[in-house]
Structure formats: C-alpha cells, structure tokens
C-alpha cells in the first residue's frame, strides 16, 4: 500500500481559509468579552430547577446595586429570559459594530432567541435541509450561541450572566466557547435525581478547569405563608458525608415560594416586587456573594 502523508505532514495551506476563519471567530468573541469584567454561567444539567428564574432575579438584584449587567439566554430552543426580564417584543439595534441588546426595565441588557422569533409559541426551526439535523444542528447552535455572546454590543459590563439550558452537553458546549468562565453557579434541588445530574455537571466543570463553582439549592424548603412553618419539599436531606457535591461550596439556598416563579414569569423579578419575601431575602444573599465575586473580594 502506498503511503499518503497526513494532514499535519503537509504544511502548505490550501487557501480555503477555514481554520483562519474559525480563529477569527474566536478572536472576535474574545475581543467583545474583553469589555466584560466577569462571566458567570447559571447552569444545572437538570431541567426545571429554576435556573432562568434565578438568573433573572440575580440580574435584577445586581443591576439594582449599580452593577452594569448583561444576560444572555443560551437556551435557544426554550428561551424564557426575555419574558422574565420584561423585554419581550423589544427591537434590537443593528449596526456594523454589533447588535444592540434589549434593555430591561430593571436596567439589564438582554439577548434571547425570543427576540428574534416571529411567533412566541413557534418552535425554533432552521432553514433546509430538513434531513440530517443531527449532523449539523449542534454546530449551528454553538455558532448561534457564539454570536449571542460575541456579536452583541454589550458595551462595558461588570458581569454577563449566561442562562444555560438543561443537559450537561450544553454546559460542555459553553465551556468550549468560554474557557475563561469566571464562575459557574449550578442550580440544584434537594431531590436525588437532581443531585445525580448536578454531580455530573460539577465533575464536567472541574475537569474543564473552572476554578469557581458554586451551588445554589433551589426549593430547599417551603415556608408556610400563614404560620411560618418550614417544611421540606423533596425527600430527605443529604448529610454532609453523603453529599455528591464534594467540596463545592453552597452559594445560596432559596426556599420555595410560588410567587418567585409566577412573578418572574410575568416579567417582574420577585427580588424587586417583594424584597421582604423569604425567597427574596435568600436571593439577596446570593446577590451579595456574587457582588463580592464581581468586585474580586471573594472567590
């Protein structure tokens, strides 16, 4: 059999410039994000744990403290951050320098697929071909997410929050785009199934070299609005010895409050609507800790 040289053996370029364009994309992303002080991902791996509601409240809470905050909805197929931050229907500025994000009433700059879709209840669809989506869809959606991060004219930001969709693969995809992520907050609930999935996400983030990982336990308890009795919503509490989260520290514990979801879903983050609610007080504690991280005081 004749010996054919390998790709690396052949140093001569072809002029197709594919690699150069990919590098240019990465440089453009890095250049844009160089104006952002901190990149914070809010993820889980598990769905339905309240990532978007926590992201919206965290964004509103940080903006209220005077931080310049941006929020990207990385959930292209199930966007909700636009609605939660009350920018649905907003028009995006379009210039050669980038796409201007929507400005929420709470002062957060927002980018979400929802702002690009003509019908709110229409599933996200890509242009032809209809077959073989499994081959190209992941690549395409990674490219679109790169644009949501790098082609949006965020301006100077203290922090850019990224609401990551369910699935550990989505976390991996984000980390490939943003290896310099400053902080990953992983939202969990006190259910065995969620713990099982979040433990995988922790491991994935650790293996990717993310130094700052924090847990946010959502729906960790329920406070009776009438008598103040505190009860657990899910199963049993994991003891410290049996915790699947290892040494990852707890950044927040948010009690269940139906108004957190209801109010935030309507575009009014509870942290602003009812600052005295137990869930809001817990969210403020999270805001405080993230504030310190932004300022560089606490790791």
């Amino acid at each position: 059999m004749r010996k054919i040289r390998t790709y690396q053996d052949v140093s001569h370029g072809t002029g197709s410039e594919l690699l150069e364009q990919v590098i240019e994309q990465q440089e453009r992303l890095a250049d844009r994000l160089s104006q952002v002080k901190r990149l914070v991902a809010i993820a889980s791996g598990k769905g339905g744990v309240g990532k978007s509601a926590i992201t919206a409240n965290l964004a509103a809470g940080l903006a209220k403290r005077g931080f310049k905050v941006g929020a990207t909805d990385a959930d292209l197929n199930g966007p909700s951050l636009g609605r939660m931050l009350n920018v649905s229907g907003a028009t995006l500025g379009d210039s050669a320098d980038g796409v201007a994000p929507a400005n929420s009433p709470t002062g957060v700059r927002v980018m979400s697929m929802e702002l690009l879709q003509s019908e709110a209840d229409a599933p996200l669809k890509w242009r032809e071909p209809s077959l073989g989506g499994f081959i190209w869809q992941s690549s395409l959606e990674t490219g679109v997410l790169r644009e949501f991060l790098g082609d949006v004219a965020w301006g100077d930001l203290d922090v850019l929050l990224i609401d990551v969709p369910p699935g550990t693969d989505k976390i991996k995809r984000l980390l490939e785009l943003l290896p310099s992520l400053d902080l990953m907050l992983l939202v969990t609930t006190p259910s065995e199934t969620t713990r099982f999935v979040v433990a995988k996400s922790i491991r994935l983030a650790q293996e990717a070299g993310i130094e700052n990982i924090g847990l946010v336990e959502n729906m960790e308890s329920h406070v009776c609005a009438s008598c103040g009795h505190v009860s657990r919503l899910f199963g049993t509490e994991a003891t410290e010895e049996e915790s699947p989260y290892g040494a990852v520290s707890l950044w927040g514990s948010i009690p269940f409050d139906p108004r957190l979801g209801a109010s935030t879903d309507e575009g009014h983050p509870l942290i602003n609507v009812d600052p005295a609610a137990a869930a809001s007080v817990a969210l403020q504690a999270l805001v405080e800790r993230v504030s310190e991280h932004i300022k560089g005081g606490v790791q």
Partner: protein, 153 residues
Amino acid sequence: MKFLCIPCDAVMDFAERQIPGDGTLAAVFECGSCNMEVAMLTNPMETQLVSSMGVKIGGREVPAQPMELSRTSMEGGKEDAFETTESVAPENQGHPLRVAWTSEAVGRLDNVPSFVRGMVKRIYTDWAQQNGVSEMTPVIMDRARTELGLEDM
C-alpha cells in the same frame, strides 16, 4: 481539509467556490504543479454542515456581519427584530468613498426580508467601497452578489 495531488505529491490550492443549486456547494481546487483541477461537491447536509460553522470555503470577501449565522439560518425570523442604525464596518470607517443607492437598488433591497435587510445592505455597501463603486444599482448588486457568493442569502 486538504486535497493532495498524488502524482505531484503537492497540496492543491483553492481556486473557486460556487453554489450551483439543489443545496450543492462546489469548491474547486487546482494543483499548482500539473494544473489538474478537482471539484469537491457536497450534498445539502454537508453544505449545511459547512455553513453551520459560519465559515466560507475560500475565505470571505467581506467581514462576517453581526449575527449573520443566526439571521441567515433561522426560519420564521421576526420581521421587526432589528432596527438598522446607519453605520459602516469598522475597517471602512473614514473611507472617503460614499456609496449612493439608486431608487431601483433601494427597491430591490425592499424585497429582502427586514430580518436580514440591514445586514445585506451593509455587505453590498462594504463591497462597493472596497471596489471603488460610488453608486449602487441593480446591475452592481448582481455583480456583487456573484462575486461575494451571496446566492444563498
């Protein structure tokens, strides 16, 4: 991706890109030693895979526009999602040549969905400036479209 001319043991150079239809992407490569040409033809799925990366085989004639991949790949984009603000590409800022659009050219642009219209106008304008064209007409648009490989846009 490289094409090796086995008789010459030489890497073939990219020569031309075409989008001839039915989802095919044609990329022509030429051996600099023996001048043999080969055309790589991709099926629609393979074409989509390349465009999903946001790259163009053979390189770009004009810089990538903000959110170009999102706008050109989405189905059902909101008509009024974007509000265009007049601006030129950073590398063309301060360019002495201003490009005037004839009413016919503007009319043709009006047929472009507004979801991508601002982006498409900037692409044509950038091309005109780089090629010393001061007036945009439908004929010039056709020329730019062919040279830029915008058949898919």
